[in-house]
Symmetry: C2
Subunit: 121 residues, 2 copies
Amino acid sequence: MTIQEVASKLVDLCSQGKFQEASKALYSPDIVSMEAGAPPGGSRESKGLEAVLAKGDWWTANHEVHSVAVEGPLIAGSHFAVTFKMDVTFKAQSRRFRMEEIAVYKVTDGKIVYEEFFYSM
Amino acid sequence: MTIQEVASKLVDLCSQGKFQEASKALYSPDIVSMEAGAPPGGSRESKGLEAVLAKGDWWTANHEVHSVAVEGPLIAGSHFAVTFKMDVTFKAQSRRFRMEEIAVYKVTDGKIVYEEFFYSM
């Protein structure tokens, strides 16, 4: 797949809330995922598809997604950027909030090999 | 200025090749600028407006810009992203090449406080 095709498929799947399906279809086994901040005692960085899917599983299990909007992509060379704007409830605290972030992806040989998220904490 | 106004002004000035003017108008004195890679013996990171303007001065002195296109912005929360696509010649080697990159900016109190560039090397 070209970077345009990868980006379009990611936007399409994520717009439907199918985040894990997007990861399984589009990510390299060697994906590196970088959050804006580290969880307590943890790292900003997750390495490998298994770790990234586990992070997604935790997120999905702990949040109820009321709506998600994806804008973009902007594509330049081997990278593309999108925005995610979500209305979610963190189940453990019944706390509903809006999440807005920019995600940047790097594509090599038709697979996403790096992702980084930008948001304020 | 709101983040929308900051982003619009950056796109407007940079589309005209006025990169240094954009920095002077929109950057915080405490700007942190992160390149995709470090120069030999240097750092990926430049701190402070003076250092960032010096980096820009070096770039301007050493490249001839034939054309520049800016796409975006995509805005999410306190961050926005744009792409830069430039046709430039590196004067020292008379080497003409296309540069494509994604830039992510963070805005606090109407000023850009962080920028990071994504490109392949």
